[in-house]
């Protein structure tokens, strides 16, 4: 794994009128890794992400993305990143191909819409409207829109929330492929099994603070070293394995 930082966040603070969402957060994301921001709802994950994505103003602190400062070169950053937002909609009344054309125009990249859909296995839905897609298809489409500008980094905010186990596993596969193609991935999730499975490194955020950054393995080993034991003996499989075993791995959409 390369250890060249592609994102550097230093002493990031975000204060709103009545509360402080992010309190002095610092971390680095390395080029080519899958980096997870973990933490309970309201911990400041999405706020942090949106500040890095240039969508929200910070109160103080400094951030560089791929060598560009968020303060002075936001537009350079926008050209180099792909963003999937939690619960974002798409322009009403357009089918997937037309949405891809729209984003190609917004990014100023000439792409073949159908090839973008091919990357996320949505060619058979090319003429469908976004609102008529299933949850997993919506997420895959959102990810396809992040790839239009051939970005250096993509940000995925809770990409697998609400998906069934098959769709979730499929999305993991897609995210791994994107990383394998050389793109750095930053994601947030509430699912620890997902973070363990997918992320090279994770940062735990709670109450606006980073309370730990490391590889999932190191975190687990550290906890075990303190004498921690699961209350229930770990079996060779869990219920999700049963689910996948019974219902198969193929897509259900």
């Amino acid at each position: 794994m390369a250890t060249q930082p592609i994102i550097t966040v230093n002493n990031l603070v975000k204060r709103y009128a009545d509360f402080t969402a992010v309190k002095d957060i610092s971390f680095e994301v390395y080029e080519g890794e899958i980096f997870g921001l973990l933490g309970p709802n309201g911990a400041g994950k999405t706020t942090t992400l949106e500040i890095i994505e240039t969508l929200r103003d910070k109160t103080s602190g400094s951030i560089t993305v791929d060598g560009f400062s968020i303060d002075t070169q936001a537009n350079q950053i926008k050209k180099r990143i792909g963003v999937q937002l939690q619960a974002a909609g798409y322009y009403p009344g357009l089918n997937l191909i037309e949405l891809m054309e729209l984003f190609a125009g917004l990014y100023g990249n000439r792409i073949k819409p159908i090839e973008m859909l091919e990357k996320v296995a949505l060619t058979d839905k090319a003429k469908a409207k976004y609102k008529d897609l299933s949850g997993g298809q919506k997420q895959r489409f959102s990810i396809a829109t992040t790839l239009i500008n051939n970005p250096r980094i993509i940000f995925l905010d809770e990409p697998t929330t609400g998906l069934d186990p098959q769709a979730r596993r499929n999305l993991w596969e897609l995210i791994r492929q994107i990383r394998a193609a050389g793109t750095t991935v930053v994601l947030t999730t509430h699912y620890m099994d997902e973070a363990e499975e997918l992320c090279d490194r994770v940062a735990f955020i709670d109450g606006g603070h980073v309370i730990g950054i490391n590889t999932p393995d190191t975190f687990i080993d550290q906890l075990v070293a303190t004498g921690f034991e699961r209350k229930k003996t770990v079996k060779q499989a869990n219920l999700e394995d049963v689910f996948i075993n019974l219902t198969g791995k193929e897509w259900r959409e």
Binding site: K78, G89, P92, L94, G105, G108, T145, N149
Partner: protein, 376 residues
């Protein structure tokens, strides 16, 4: 990564294209901006052409050999009454059972040798028309008709014309049909709907569904988003206006005095009106809390104008106390300008008064819109 230079124009046009696709797939938008105006035109054009006549009393001693009088004789909409004496006429006029009294006098017609052109009186005829408040709307029709007759005669009589040629070029009777009144009003109604409802809904929904937020994650500029959406609405409204004018002209004989030039002048006015109405839409999108508050807020803007701006009836038919209100509304001035351009055939430069009022509205509305508009 994109190394070639970023094109704001391309981004703007991408939004325009997306927006147009969306507009054409939104049935309720199409109904309000195109179908309703066309239905009103069909309904009222049919009612109007059979129903409206303007009863004009002809004063004793009125010159009846002049082209103006002949034109009125040929106008189907005008019924000339000659069998009443002056007293009866005055009485009937005050009751509104006749709509106007006409008296045409010849100026300087007693030359035995034609004088040099410069010596000819500027106005050959002295036309006196007495209107009545009892029948203001029909008076308005007569007024427009007379204006168009004067215009036509003025246009046909070049520098070397004599009175004889005036007689020859007596207009065939450019009939003032109700379509000539109703179509500009419906055009204004269509523009009002496209501008107000369309703009208010699109920016509110883009904001609420976070489409705008996703746009902001791309290098697109804010002004590109606004310009793209406006351009889409302008394109749609121009297409709609052309359709409405074409249906009116070919199916119902809507009068276009100078043909294509008149159409272009009307489209220019339509553009000016639409830009102002879009300003209302921007304001509503900013103050509306959610999609359900858009229709009531939009109706507050559109309904009074729909009813009070002379869309269906001439504003001169309204009671006195209501007239200042209708004269304050932008649609009133758009409608007036449209009618002058379309039927009376005046040039766009001659509706400067209306354009000035519209410009004032535009400045006020956009000043408010800039204050109230919300991106997120």
């Amino acid at each position: 990564m994109n190394t070639s230079s970023y094109s704001n124009i391309r981004a703007t046009l991408a939004i325009t294209k997306a927006s147009l696709r969306s507009i054409f797939r939104n049935p309720s938008g199409l109904v309000f901006s195109l179908l309703f105006p066309l239905i009103f035109i069909v309904v009222f054009a049919n009612i109007g052409s059979g129903g409206v006549t303007v009863d004009v009393g002809v004063a004793k001693g009125c010159d009846t050999l002049n082209p103006i009088y002949k034109a009125l004789q040929n106008a189907k909409v005008v019924n000339l009454i000659r069998n009443q004496n002056a007293d009866q006429m005055e009485k009937n006029l005050s009751k509104g059972s006749i709509d106007a009294i006409l008296n045409v006098k010849k100026n300087g017609g007693n030359w035995t040798v034609y004088p040099p052109l410069s010596a000819l009186p500027k106005a050959r005829y002295n036309v006196q028309v007495k209107y009545t408040a009892a029948s203001a709307d029909k008076g308005g029709i007569l007024k427009s008709l007379l204006n168009s007759i004067f215009f036509k005669i003025g246009e046909k009589t070049g520098a070397f014309s004599s009175i004889a040629t005036i007689k020859e070029t007596t207009i065939k009777g450019r009939e003032y049909k109700y379509i000539d009144f109703i179509l500009p009003g419906q055009l204004g109604f269509s523009l009002l709907n496209i501008g107000v409802f369309g703009t208010a809904f699109v920016f509110l929904s883009l904001r609420q569904t976070l489409v705008i937020r996703r746009f902001f994650a791309t290098p697109v500029k804010r002004y590109s988003i606004v310009a793209g959406e406006m351009l889409a609405r302008v394109t749609f409204a121009m297409l709609g206006s052309i359709i409405i004018i074409a249906v009116g002209h070919y199916a119902f004989g809507f009068t276009l005095v100078h043909g294509a030039v008149t159409v272009l002048s009307m489209l220019f006015l339509a553009f000016v009106g639409l830009v102002i109405f879009m300003g209302f839409g921007f304001i509503i999108s900013g103050i509306a809390k959610n999609e359900t508050t858009v229709p009531p807020l939009s109706n507050i803007i559109t309904l009074p104008q729909f009813l009070l701006s002379g869309t269906f009836f001439s504003t001169s038919a309204f009671p006195k106390w209501l007239q200042p209100i209708s004269n304050a509304l932008p649609l009133t001035h758009l409608n007036n300008a449209m009618r002058k351009v379309a039927f009376e055939g005046v040039a766009i430069t001659e509706v400067g008064h209306e354009l000035l009022i519209l410009l004032a509205w535009g400045i006020v509305i956009y000043a408010v819109a800039i204050k109230t508009f919300k991106w997120e």
